[in-house]
C-alpha cells in the first residue's frame, strides 16, 4: 500500500551546507500494518513520515501510496491527498492554542463546507472515541498535555483516514499518559488503519499488536 522507492532527501541549510536526511531508502508498508520506526533524534524517522504524508517531496526517488505517485503531486493535490487519506499526530500536537477543542478538531473539515449535522456527527464520534467530549468547548491552551494530545488524535481521525501517522507521540507525556496513547493505538489498529509511528520511546518496543519495528540510523534503514 505504501511504498518508498530509492528515496534520497537532502536539506539545503545554505549553499555550502547540505544535509542528507534520507539516503537511498526503500520501504513497503502493507494496508492495516502498524509499523514503528525506531532511531535516535535526527536519524531520519520524521522525514520518512513527512514524505508519506506528502508534507515534503523527496530529492529523488518515489513515494507511492495505493499505486499513486504522491511524491509527484502538485501542492493542491497533495493537500487533498492528506485530507482524504492521512491523519497526522504531530510531536508538539500542532493545535491552534486559542481555539476551542471542537474548533480544532473540525479544522480538517472546514474547507469541505460540510453541513452542520455531518460536522456534529463526525465530532461526536471522535470525541467519544478519544474521551475528550467533556472538554469540547474548552480552549486548547488551558488543557493538560494528555488532553491536548487526545485533541490532536481526534483531529487526525475526524476524516476517518486510512493512514495514521504519529511523530514522537509520547515525547511530551508521562508514562501513564503514554500507556493511554498505546491503548488508543491498539483501538486504531483494530479499526484496520495503517499506522506508522516514529519514536525512540522504549514503551513502543515489543508490543504485541505492532507488526514491524524498523531501525533508522543516519538516514538509512538498518535491516
Amino acid at each position: 500500500m505504501i511504498e518508498l522507492k530509492n528515496i534520497i532527501k537532502r536539506y539545503e541549510l545554505n549553499k555550502n551546507d547540505i544535509v542528507t536526511a534520507l539516503d537511498d531508502i526503500n520501504l513497503k508498508i502493507k494496508e492495516g500494518e502498524l509499523v514503528v520506526l525506531k532511531g535516535a533524534s535526527g536519524s531520519g524517522k520524521s522525514t520518512i513520515l513527512s514524505l508519506i504524508a506528502a508534507l515534503s517531496k523527496p530529492t529523488s526517488g518515489e513515494v507511492v501510496v495505493d499505486e499513486k505517485k504522491i511524491s509527484k503531486l502538485p501542492d493542491n493535490f497533495a493537500s487533498v491527498y492528506r485530507r482524504d487519506n492521512i491523519g497526522f499526530i504531530f510531536q508538539k500536537y500542532n493545535l491552534i492554542p486559542t481555539l476551542s477543542v471542537k474548533e480544532n478538531i473540525i479544522l480538517p473539515l472546514v474547507p469541505l463546507n460540510p453541513d452542520a449535522n455531518e460536522v456534529q456527527e463526525k465530532l461526536d464520534k471522535v470525541t467519544k472515541m478519544f474521551n475528550i467530549s467533556h472538554k469540547e468547548d474548552s480552549i486548547v491552551r488551558n488543557l493538560s498535555g494528555g488532553e491536548q494530545q487526545r485533541v490532536a488524535i481526534a483531529r487526525a481521525n475526524v476524516n476517518n483516514p486510512k493512514i495514521v501517522i504519529a511523530d514522537e507521540p509520547t515525547a511530551n507525556l508521562d508514562e501513564k499518559l503514554s500507556l493511554n496513547f498505546i491503548e488508543i493505538l491498539r483501538e486504531l489498529k483494530a479499526l484496520n488503519k495503517t499506522i506508522v509511528i516514529a519514536t525512540h520511546d522504549p514503551l513502543f518496543f515489543d508490543l504485541d499488536f505492532v507488526d514491524r519495528e524498523i531501525q533508522v540510523h543516519n538516514g538509512k534503514i538498518i535491516l
Binding site: S56, S79, V80, N94, L107, V110, N113, N159
Partner: protein, 395 residues
Amino acid sequence: MKSKINIYLIEYAINAILRQKSKSFFIVFVFTLLIFLLTSVFFITNSIRYELDSTVDTLPQIIVQKIKAGRHYDIDVDAVDNIIEIAGVSDAVARVWGYYYFENAGVNFSVVGIEQYEKQYKNSFEKIADKFDLSDTESNPSMVVGHGVKKTMHQSYYKEYFNFIKPDGTLKKVNIAGVFDADTQLESNDIIVTSKEIAREIFDIDEAKATDIVVKVANPKEIPMIVSKIKSIYPDSRIITSQDLKVSYQNIFDYKSGIFLALFIVSLFTFFIIIYDKSSGLSSEEKREIGILKAIGWRVDDVLKEKFYESFIISFFAYILGVGLSFAYVYIFGAPILQNIFVGYSQLKTSFELPFIFDAQTLFLVFFLSVPIYVAATIIPSWKVATLEADEVIR
C-alpha cells in the same frame, strides 16, 4: 441543501481576528482614521463644489468696474445710460456694495444696496424688494441680513438693530427687518441687503458714483461682443463675465483640493507601505498556523479564502466605521477645522452649513482605494507562505 457560503471558514476568519486583538485593533484604528479623513475631504469638496456651482448660477452675466492705476475705483452712475443703449443689453444696474469689517466678531459682512423700483440682478434681491420696504431711509432705516450675519450680530447683542461705524467715525443705526433667504448659503450667509442710500452712507459713496455696474444680456452668446463694445466705450474699465468668475472660483477651490489630494496620496501611499510591511512580516505564529492548516489538508486556495475573509471583514468594518464617522463629522458637526481650510476665509467670512450631497461615486472611490488594496496586501504574504512545503513551514 448545502450553503455556497462556507460559514465555518468565515467563523474561523472572525476567530482569527479576535485572537489577535491588539494587531486587529491597530489596523482598524489606522484604517478608520484614513477612511474618515479621505471621505471627509471628499464630502466637503462635493458640498462646496455644489455650493459654488449654485452660487455661480446666480452671478451677474457682466460686471463693469472702473480701473485707475490698476486699482478699482467707483464708477459714474451715468455709464448705465450708455451701456443700456448697446444692442443686445436687456438691463444695466449700478450697484452700491462693499465689505464691512465687524471688528467685534472679526468677520466681514457684504453690504449690498438695492432700489425698490429697480429691476434686481438677483432673484433673491427681487424677493426682498417685493417683501420688505427698505425705502424709508430717514425715519426707519432697515436691512435684511443673511443667517450667518444674524447669528454673528446676536452674539454681540445686536438683536433688533446694528450700529455701523461710518468712515468719518460716526454711527449709522440700521434696523434688522428680516432674514435673507437665498438659494445657496455661500451667497446669502454673509450678506446684508439694504437701500442704496444707506449703503452709500455706510461706505461714503457719492450719489453720482457706484461700486460697479451689472449688465444683463438677452442672449448669452452675445456676451463677448457686448463686452468688447463696453470696452470700446470705456477703455478704463475692467469687465468681468460670469464665466471669468466661475473659472476664478474653480481655480481657487481646485488649487486647495489639489494640495489636499496630493497630501492624501502621500499619506495613502505611506499607509499602504506600513500595512504591507506589517502584513508581509507574518509572525512565526501566523506562518506556523498556515503550515498546520496545510498539513491537515487545507489547499492553498482554502488558506487564501480564509485570509481574504479575514482581511475583508477587518477592512470593510473600518470602511463602514470611517464613512459613518465622516458623515457625522461633516454633515452633523459641520466639519470643524477642515471646512475652514477649504473655504479659506474663516477669519473674515461667516461660517455656513455644508449641504448634504450623496455621491455614490465618492464612496466607491474610497472603497476601491482602501479595501481591495488592504486585502491584496494581506493575501500576498500569506500566499507566499502557503505555497511553501508544509513541512518546511511547521519546522
